[in-house]
């Protein structure tokens, strides 16, 4: 957990680590996507605040796949290169709902204590 004397970079790192799974699962909730798209979307939608290094993006994907929360498969569409697409499984959907709830509660608490508003 975050220690009282933690500096800001370390805080960012911890936050990122804690939120990675949520971000990926949320992006896959909309539709199936490939790794590049996931990384790119996170970066774009966070307006550059959050970006994932490939070396942590893919291992996270594999870990989620291992846990059965997402499912990846190689897909070849006509006119496109072969790519590996990931989609959310039923179990993933449940976990996403649960995580959303946890973050929701957490942000409310943050707002109350530290006056951080969230959109």
């Amino acid at each position: 957990m975050v220690s009282p004397h933690m500096d800001t970079t370390a805080l960012e790192r911890e936050l990122k680590r804690g939120s990675t799974e949520l971000l990926i699962l949320a992006l896959l909730e909309e539709r199936q996507r490939h790794g590049y798209e996931i990384g790119r979307l996170i970066e774009e939608r966070s307006e550059g605040t959050i970006n994932f290094h490939v070396a942590s993006l893919y291992p996270t994907l594999y870990r989620l796949e291992d846990r059965g929360l997402i499912e990846g498969r190689w897909i070849e569409r006509s006119g496109f290169r072969r790519r590996r697409f990931y989609r959310l499984t039923a179990a993933g959907r449940k976990v996403l709902a649960k995580q959303r709830k946890v973050w929701q509660t957490f942000f409310v608490a943050l707002d109350r204590v530290a006056r951080i508003r969230h959109a």
Binding site: Y36, V54, P59, E65, D66, G72, R81, R82
Partner: protein
């Protein structure tokens, strides 16, 4: 378009990572998308590529996190880790990298590579060559059907210490009925015929055998047929030719079958030719014809006529032990009825009998070759250690980049295996030359016909090369990989340890070399003793040729087989006897010839009449049957003893006055004198053989007729003018003329008497002598070459260690000298260290040699396996050689300039 997949894989490999195919593909897909996006967003090709390359590199830096990509999310992880795909491909990839890297290392250091490959080639080559010979001689099955069921059967008599008595024909006839243990039995003995007719007359080597031989061996004729038991019983004169003889003498003429050959006094009908690979028995020179065994009255008179060799095929399910037990019962039953018969039998596997002469020599040579390989391996290990020190930085860098010790060791061992593989390939060449030289030196030795680098030999080389690679690779790899970054920088730790390791290797080399030297030394001493051995005659300047005569042109009057009454009219010499006596008289007259004689059986080449006879001493009670002592019998012309340089110890030799009209005389050897007469003076006594009493007129020093290993038999010689039947004689000339002119002169003289007679086998006595020690000479030569190679390799190793040690210690030596140590002192210090190293090796080696050389006992002659002189000389020679090898580096050390030395680091 960039091949991102390959790019990513290579980039990972370069930094020592292996990524799963799946993840590489996914990353490549990511890279391509990133590239396309960059292009779509306005970057030009170059920019886009640069951007993606940087991205890829950043991934690779984090590669450890990317590894072990699960493929099927549902399967549990451990199960997949066992799958060959996960483990085998990376392993192979690592191997490929290691091999490529190893090649680069070898190319980068050609002096090291060349030395190591040459050393290994010698070691592996010697082993492959000896293995090929061992394989051909000792391991290859004999060319008979189920040869492992074939046994040789001898009579034996433990009480009389006879363990391999040839079989009496009467006993063989009784044995033939023993079908409960043997499927088939056959008996044979050697005989010789002079073949006349088309071409030069020629003496041929014949095996007189029962017809059952072919059935027993399970081999039939290649052309025509073998002879039958019916022909044997009816004493039909038929003959089967060996393939080689048929080719050599008759050019493979198929129409020969059914034709007659003039053999001796009779004609024999050729009925068949044996297959090319057939050879029986397995000795040299090979038998050329096979004819039926005819037993005559003298064969069947007593169970003491031990004339036959018996070969038998064991019945299925009957072991050699069981057969021996059964045959022992049979032998005892026979002894109960005929007391003179031997009470036991001895059975030996046919293969053991055929190879027994070669086995020990070959195994000792093989062991020696193995020692040589050990030395070679040790040497290469030493080189690798030295190289490892030089590569310390490289290895430290690899280790600091995360390569595990295991990974570094694997790399180093792979390099060793690469070296040994190249060494093995070069070793095959060495083996080819060695085998060529070996077969050239000993065409008939050990029964070698065709030793080849065949599949077993190649497999052997492969296995030995790999084993060698591991042997010399693991120890240095373990040592070198112990180094870590900080230690390499701080230097002293691993260097000191490695010096100890290298010293240990040198001691091991010295130990191995001493064993080799002692073995070779013992063989050399044996050979010298053999060379200097007194054979009972003076072999130098003796030239010999053989002459065979036969009736009807040269009849042999059988008169000597009847006791001649003293008042009978003077007898005439037979035509045979006259021929030889006349010829020798002519030969004596050749200018430049100091002496000429003829003898029925020459020492070391007993062709002609060479057999033992029962002998009685007149005036003594006749011993019971079975105890009549026997002596070898020969006929010689009057100047034989003088020509050969034999020593007359008592009485006289023959004179021209010993004729048919004077009393019958005989000369015996001192072995016979001792055995028959003990302390009595034999001269003047009379002995009886062939029913004729003869007076002993002289005693000669015993001659080693049967080579150096066998003690002389009792021997008696009668003058040629008192004997009628010869068949063949060997002519002996003492002359310093060259062989060619002597041969021409003899032929010229013979032509004057009879141009149709066959002279053959022109040889010098020295060459017979040389042949008789061919096997020990060859073994000695091999052992000595191996020992010499071993010493050279050890010295190279020692030199390397010393040079290296001195270089490493330049600083230490410099400090010592700066602190006032004199050069003399430094030299002495290094000398003592070297001496210590070598002495420990020598002491260990002498101990090991004491144990190892016991196996050689059977090869040694006139010297024991623990001969102190050989050990002392070997030790001293090795210490001196080692010091000589270490001298230069030691001298170099004393010339160290203290100032430079202190700046060394």
């Amino acid at each position: 378009m960039v091949n991102w997949k390959a790019r990513i894989r290579d980039a990972a490999a370069v930094s020592g990572h292996i990524l799963d195919d799946d993840i590489v593909e996914e990353l490549a897909s990511h890279a391509v998308t990133a590239y396309e996006t960059a292009r779509a967003e306005g970057s030009d090709k170059k920019e886009a590529e640069k951007f993606v390359v940087a991205m890829v590199q950043s991934w690779i830096n984090e590669a450890p996190r990317l590894r072990r990509r699960p493929r099927h999310p549902q399967t549990s992880l451990p199960a997949r880790e066992d799958s060959p795909k996960v483990w085998f491909w990376p392993w192979l990839e690592h191997l490929r990298q290691d091999v490529i890297y190893g090649c680069r290392v070898l190319r980068g250091n050609p002096a090291f590579a060349l030395t190591a490959v040459l050393t290994l080639a010698l070691g592996i080559g010697a082993n492959t060559a000896i293995f090929s010979i061992v394989n051909a001689v000792l391991l290859e099955p004999l060319p008979y059907q189920n040869p492992q069921r074939l046994v040789m059967v001898w009579e034996s008599n433990r009480e009389l210490a006879k363990n391999r008595d040839p079989v009496a024909p009467l006993n063989f006839q009784d044995w033939k009925g023993e079908t409960s243990v043997f499927e088939a039995t056959a008996a044979y003995r050697y005989s010789g015929f002079v073949l006349t007719g088309a071409g030069d007359p020629e003496r041929i080597r014949t095996l007189s055998t029962t017809a059952s031989l072919f059935e027993t061996l399970g081999v039939g004729a290649a052309i025509g047929r073998t002879f039958t038991e019916d022909e044997e019983r009816k004493q039909d004169r038929v003959v089967v030719l060996s393939y080689d003889f048929w080719q050599r003498r008759f050019g493979g003429d198929r129409s020969l079958i059914g034709r007659s050959l003039n053999m001796g006094t009779n004609t024999y009908v050729v009925v068949g030719v044996m297959p090319p690979q057939f050879r029986f028995p397995d000795d040299a020179p090979a038998v050329e014809t096979y004819s039926p065994l005819f037993l005559d009255q003298s064969d069947l008179r007593s169970r003491q006529a031990h004339t036959l060799t018996v070969v038998a095929r064991l019945k299925d399910g009957v072991s050699s032990e069981k057969a021996t037990a059964h045959m022992n019962q049979v032998a005892r039953r026979i002894t109960d009825a005929h007391t003179e018969s031997n009470p036991e039998v001895a059975l030996f596997g046919i293969h053991d009998v055929f190879v027994e002469n070669a086995r020990l020599a070959l195994l000792v040579t093989f062991a020696t070759a193995a020692f040589l390989l050990l030395i070679a391996s040790t040497n290469v290990a030493n080189l690798k250690l030295a190289q490892g020190s030089a590569r310390g930085r490289e290895i430290a860098v690899r280790a600091s980049l995360g390569a595990s010790r295991w990974r570094i060791m694997r790399q180093l061992v792979t390099e060793s295996l690469l070296l040994s593989a190249i060494g093995g390939a070069a070793g095959l060449l060495v083996a080819r030359w060695t085998i060529g030289a070996f077969v050239g030196l000993s065409p008939n030795l050990f029964g070698i016909q065709q030793v080849a680098l065949d599949l077993p030999a190649l497999s052997f080389t492969l296995v030995v090369s790999l084993m060698t690679g591991v042997l010399f690779g693991v120890f240095p790899a373990w040592q070198v990989s112990r180094a870590n970054l900080s230690e390499t920088i701080k230097t002293t730790g691993p260097t000191a340890r490695r010096r100890v390791a290298r010293s240990a290797l040198v001691m091991a080399e010295v130990t191995l070399s001493i064993v080799l030297m002692v073995s070779a030394g013992l063989m050399i001493r044996s050979l010298i003793k053999l060379r200097a051995m007194d054979y009972g005659f003076l072999p130098e300047n003796l030239f010999t040729m053989q002459l065979f005569v036969s009736p009807p042109k040269y009849p042999a009057d059988p008169v000597q087989f009847r006791p001649r009454s003293t008042d009978a009219p003077p007898a005439q010499l037979s035509a045979q006897a006259r021929l030889f006596n006349d010829l020798v008289d002519r030969l004596k007259a050749i200018p430049g010839v100091q002496g000429a004689a003829a003898v029925s059986a020459l020492p070391l080449n007993p062709v002609g009449i060479d057999f033992d006879l029962p002998v009685l001493v007149e005036g003594r009670p006749r011993p019971p049957a079975g105890e009549v002592p026997q002596a070898d019998f020969r006929i010689a012309t009057s100047d034989y003893f003088a020509t050969m340089g034999m020593r007359i110890l008592q009485g006289r030799g023959f004179t021209d006055t010993d004729t048919m009209n004077t009393p019958n005389v005989v000369v015996i050897n001192d072995t016979m004198a001792r055995r028959f007469f003990g302390n009595e003076n034999p001269v003047g006594r009379r002995i009886v053989f062939y029913g004729i009493p003869r007076e002993v007129v002289g005693v000669i020093a015993s001659v080693r007729h049967r080579g150096f290993r066998l003690e002389p038999n009792p021997e008696m010689i009668v003058p040629s003018k008192q004997f009628q039947q010869f068949g063949g004689m060997t002519l002996v000339l003492r002359s310093s003329l060259d062989s060619m002119s002597l041969e021409r002169a003899i032929k010229r003289e013979l032509r004057q008497i009879d141009p149709g007679l066959p002279l053959s086998n022109a040889r010098t006595m020295v060459s017979f002598l040389s042949d008789s020690v061919a096997q020990p000479r060859l073994t000695t030569l091999l052992l000595a070459s191996f020992a010499l190679l071993g010493i050279v390799l050890s010295c190279v190793g020692l030199y390397g260690v010393m040079s290296y040690g001195v270089t490493q210690r330049t600083q230490e030596i410099g400090i010592r000298m700066a602190l006032g140590a004199e050069r003399r002192y430094v030299f002495r210090m290094l000398l003592m260290e070297t001496l210590m190293l070598v002495t420990i090796g020598v002491v260990c080696g002498l101990g090991a040699a004491l144990v190892a050389t016991r196996l050689m006992r059977g090869l040694l002659f006139g010297v024991g396996p623990s001969d102190p002189a050989t050990y002392a000389v070997s030790a001293l020679a090795l210490i001196l050689t080692a010091l000589a090898a270490a001298y230069r580096p030691m001298l170099h050390a004393t010339r160290v300039d203290p100032l430079k030395a202190l700046r060394h680091e």
